[in-house]
């Protein structure tokens, strides 16, 4: 095999390992901590790309002259660090907890150590790639193709691994790819350190794969709390593409959310299901002919008392208890939509007996996909009850899910639900009460606006809500509530010690018969929303307006502009615990910006005197870094809705983008390195993205209910075509630079990598604050700028005049 062929294959293998390692690390950190924190660490780790570019810029000649032995050993070293990094962070001295970060200063150095440990494999890996790119700048198209193709395949391989091996076994497996790449790239010039490191890596990897260490989660995660209980044990554990599924059992694990104080029976012991260490639901114990259920003693009984039960739709019905309740009320037919196929499979097989065969009942149809996708794709069905899962969590979730897109809880989604209701049908939803009130008010605002959008003049005649000490359950009925409905609701409250919160003709005194509150403002706020007071929604200290498809962040309540006001009311130390998730993204952006400044701008200033015309490089490659990531994030969001599975959407988008871009980059080798090409291709991409800004969503909506092969074809076209063109931009730019000033190529690599890191959190912030349209708008502007840099190349690249 020719040395160049070996290098190109090695590069592909190594690139596959880097992206797979990134995804596996996110998965592991999500299990140990929470997903938004994984995001924070990865953004730091990815700065390894930026730092490698800086190192290359500073020591270009030395690094390139040593590339023959350095690149293989960097790849092997990167593999070694991939294999060991996670295990090292699990050593007691490096263990930290995101919850404690805000109360113990000693956590900060530990966090910094974690950053460093995760930074190293990315830095060494990226340095190897950077050297190869710069050394072979004239054949960058081929090398970039290998890099992108490898990355695309790496994304798919890791998904396969998630479904087949335990999460802690994935990095050792992946690290071996880079070790292999290092050995392969060495060719016949194998050197002892590389061989030794390779052998050590293989031995450690084999041990970690064969003897996977137990993952210790944060002491504040649901599974850790469950395992503190007497006789607690994990009775089931299985890796799945959606995350690690575990079932915990203990005689002290009971399930009765916000149980009525009138209940005097035994609270049933239940096994709890956890996904990535977070509570997912319980193993229900269904018995045919069962005529009551523990949930009948919670506010969730309300729809079952008021509605017909011929056809029931249960969305995100992962909590098997709600399904069992529906069965016990004699629902004639139930459609249950559950996105986690692993849990469904587990319930149908391993726990079929213990759950009384609940998931195998003839009158139950289980649809494994996202709830919103089901709503969008099903036609001509009518339901008497559409039941949504309980929102929030007991004691508040501290904004953990703030940045989780939730297309089920948008206004558009509720509009679809309304259309599916039978004439007497109703939408039912419950929530834990939170303080300060946010979720409960946003649900109400969503229900009220849904009714108004459907032409209901007085939504309050269609709405009822009851309240216990910890829960509120709402129903929105398609027809106005009847006097009988009102009477039944009042009687229910009396029997179970609940209070009506919303009911036609309700008197103020009724609202606090059993459950009083010192905060009367809550009731006044409920009335303001019922009255359609839009100014109240806009003025409230938290975001409580309905979520929309453009901003599908139902659990994001924080207004950045209100932090000072909230600090005044609740004290500054409480703010992180009110809305932790969103703040972490802000912190991620700030730290990413700071480090990008240290790694890019400062060294650039140092070299300013020696080279001119760096402005064009900075703007062009910076714009590409931001634009590429923004488009990727938008496409992932849109295709989550389209495919109904976040994991599939992620793999479809990332892999198609990377492979199509790789093809573009390979093709770019046929074009001459002159300014005209990046300018005109940049313009084509800009126009395409502009088209997508307005027409991507309608195009996807038109074909959302098509058969899967059609949807795959549509997604390949919509993701692939612009990605193919985007693949031209980076190598054309590099070759153009290399043709007159080779010292600038490392900059291009570093700038592109670092701005990609910043843009992930920046895109998220823009999406949360202004919506997806704005994110796409920024991407359009970025590609327009990139095109303009080459359209006016004389202004930006002074050393050469081109046509």
């Amino acid at each position: 095999m020719r040395p160049m062929t070996r290098q190109i294959i090695g590069l592909g293998l190594h690139s596959a390992a880097i992206i797979a390692f990134q995804l596996s690390l996110m998965q592991l950190i999500s299990i140990v901590q929470w997903h938004h924190f994984a995001y924070m660490i990865i953004s730091i780790a990815m700065l390894g790309f930026g730092a490698s570019g800086t190192l290359l810029a500073l020591f270009r000649e030395k690094l390139l002259s040593a590339s023959g032995w350095l690149v293989p050993i960097l790849m092997t070293a990167s593999g070694f660090f991939m294999i060991t990094a996670f295990q090292v962070t699990r050593l007691e001295v490096f263990q930290f907890d995101v919850y404690l970060l805000f109360v113990e200063r000693s956590q900060f150095p530990v966090l910094a150590a974690n950053y460093l440990i995760y930074f190293i494999p990315f830095f060494t890996g990226a340095l190897a790639i950077g050297i190869l790119f710069i050394k072979n700048a004239t054949q960058i198209g081929t090398y970039y193709f290998s890099n992108l193709l490898g990355s695309g395949i790496g994304g798919l391989i890791v998904l396969f691994m998630f479904g087949s091996v335990y999460p802690q076994q994935v990095p050792p497996l992946i690290g071996l790819f880079s070790v292999g790449a290092g050995i392969l790239s060495s060719g016949r010039r194998l050197i002892a350190p590389n061989i030794s490191l390779g052998v050590v890596s293989v031995i450690i990897a084999a041990y970690l794969i064969y003897q996977p260490a137990r993952i210790e989660t944060s002491q504040y995660k649901g599974i850790a709390q469950a395992m503190n209980l007497p006789e607690a044990e994990i009775v089931y554990s299985k890796p799945d593409i959606h995350g690690l599924i575990q079932v915990a059992a203990s005689p002290a694990l009971r399930f009765a959310p916000a149980l009525s104080l009138s209940y005097t029976g035994e609270v049933p012991v239940k096994k709890n299901i956890f996904v990535n260490g977070n509570f997912f639901g319980v193993i229900p114990q269904f018995r045919e002919g069962q005529d009551s259920h523990i949930l009948d003693y919670t506010t969730q009984i309300l729809p079952w008392k008021l509605a017909k039960k011929d056809n029931v739709l249960m969305l995100d019905a992962g909590d098997g208890a709600s399904l069992a309740q529906a069965m016990s009320h004699g629902a004639a037919h139930i459609d249950a939509v559950i996105d986690n196929g692993g849990v469904v499979q587990m319930m149908k097989t391993d726990f079929a007996g213990q759950s009384g065969g609940l998931y195998l009942q003839e009158n139950l149809d289980i649809h494994v996909l996202e709830a919103r996708n089901y709503l969008a794709s099903v036609k001509d069905r009518e339901y008497d009850i559409i039941m949504l899962p309980q929102q929030e969590s007991f004691g508040g979730s501290a904004g953990i899910n703030a940045l989780q897109e939730n297309y089920t809880m948008t206004l558009e989604s509720f509009g679809l639900m309304w259309e599916m209701l039978s004439p007497g049908g109703m939408i039912a939803i419950s929530t834990w009460t939170d303080y300060p009130p946010r979720t409960s008010l946003r649900i109400l605002a969503t229900l009220v606006e849904t009714a108004r959008n459907k032409g209901v003049a007085e939504p309050s005649r269609h709405l009822a809500a009851i309240r216990s000490w910890g829960n509120i359950s709402y129903i929105l009925k398609k027809q106005p509530l009847t006097p009988k409905d009102i009477e039944i609701t009042r009687q229910l409250c009396e029997d179970l010690f609940f209070d009506p919160l919303i009911l036609p003709g309700i008197s103020p005194g009724e609202r606090q018969s059993y459950h009083m509150s010192d905060d009367d403002e809550f009731f006044a706020n409920v009335d303001r929303i019922l009255a359609g007071d839009k100014s109240f929604l806009e003025d409230y200290s938290f975001l409580i307006s309905p979520a929309t498809d453009n901003k599908p962040y139902f659990s994001q309540f924080l207004r950045l502009g209100n932090i000072r006001e909230l600090s005044g009311i609740y004290s500054t130390d409480q703010i992180p615990f009110l809305e932790l998730g969103y703040l972490i993204v802000v912190v991620t952006l700030l730290q990413g910006t700071l480090l990008a400044f240290i790694f890019i701008i400062l060294p650039l200033m140092k070299l300013r005197r020696s080279h001119r015309g760096k402005g064009g490089t900075l703007i062009y490659f910076g714009a590409l870094g931001v634009g590429y990531m923004f488009v990727e994030i938008i496409l992932i969001q849109r295709f989550v809705l389209y495919f109904g599975h976040p994991v599939y959407a992620l793999s479809a988008v990332i892999s198609t983008m990377l492979i199509a871009s790789g093809a573009g980059s390979l093709t770019s080798g046929r074009l001459r390195a002159i300014a005209r090409y990046p300018a005109s291709i940049g313009l084509i991409i800009t126009l395409m993205l502009l088209f997508y800004t307005f027409f991507l969503t309608p195009l996807l909506q038109e074909s959302i209910s098509s058969p899967l092969p059609v949807k795959i074809a549509v997604s390949l076209l919509l993701i692939g075509i612009p990605s193919f063109f985007k693949g031209f931009m980076f190598p054309l730019g590099i070759r153009y630079l290399a043709s007159y000033d080779t010292s600038q190529t490392p900059w291009a690599w570093g700038i592109n990598g670092s701005l990609s890191v910043i843009s992930t959190s920046l895109a998220m912030l823009i999406a949360v604050e202004t919506g997806f349209m704005a994110v796409m708008g920024v991407a359009v502007v970025c590609y327009a700028i990139a095109a303009a840099v080459f359209a006016f190349s004389r202004l930006f690249f002074r050393q050469k005049t081109t046509r």
């Binding site: 007497p230 609270v267 004691g395 000490w469 010690f497 003025d539 615990f577 009110l578």
Partner: protein, 230 residues
């Protein structure tokens, strides 16, 4: 030689006295600035808060923060509550010297110690064994009216029921029916609701003389009512 040892002993004792005095000063300051200033006026509660050495109930690494105005981690996902919350929960159940009180969730043992300063008997249950054992060794060395059991608090402590008040420091998603059952008519149960370190909203459960059970969500006085700008 003897003189040197003697002087060393004097030095050690002097240091201990100084440190002890420092803790007492911090405790008095805590009561004055964090508790009385926020409206806790019950004399028995204030005396108890002054008397119990909170620093002995926090992990050694946290000791220097013991009298700060915040909760502290004690391991196993549990916390020792902010001093004000402990005082507020104590005052709100209206403890009397002849009372018998049940606590669910011993945790560090601090809340039980504060109650033991005021009432006749404190029965406290902890489900996490290591926490329960640690608290038992501290509490039973200091108080003869505190009884610690490592068990599932769901069942309460039937042998000693009914209780004048119940303090649930580790809230669950449901209020166990046996606890409601073991609360005396006219008794009060207090439950904090909130994630670790988070501002906790307190809930008071009252059982009337006729057995009717109701709740009240309390607003700790530290927090002004949640209002908009206007």
């Amino acid at each position: 030689m003897r003189l040197a040892i003697f002087l060393l002993l004097i030095l050690i004792l002097g240091s201990i006295t100084l440190i002890a005095d420092e803790y007492e000063r911090e405790r008095n300051r805590m009561v004055r600035t964090q508790i009385r200033a926020r409206g806790i006026n019950d004399r028995a509660t204030l005396d108890a808060m002054r008397a119990v050495p909170r620093h002995l109930y926090v992990p050694a690494v946290q000791r220097r923060y013991a009298y700060q105005d915040r909760p502290l981690p004690i391991g196993y996902g549990q916390t020792i509550s902010q001093p004000y919350i402990v005082a507020y929960m104590t005052e709100i159940i209206r403890p009397r010297p002849d009372n018998s009180i049940l606590e669910i969730g011993t945790g560090s043992g601090y809340q039980a110690a504060v109650l033991a300063e005021i009432v006749a008997q404190v029965y406290t249950i902890e489900i996490v064994r290591p926490l329960g054992e640690q608290a038992r060794s501290k509490l039973e060395a200091q108080y003869d009216n505190v009884h610690v059991k490592v068990a599932d608090g769901y069942h309460g402590w039937e042998e000693h029921a009914p209780f004048d008040a119940i303090v649930v420091t580790a809230a669950a998603e449901y209020i166990p029916p046996p606890l409601v059952e073991q609360l005396k008519e006219g008794g009060r149960m207090i439950i904090p609701v909130g994630s670790p370190f988070q501002m906790q909203q307190l809930m008071l459960v009252e059982k009337s003389e006729d057995g009717r059970v109701s709740t009240r969500s309390l607003m700790p006085v530290r927090f002004v009512p949640f209002e908009r700008d206007n």
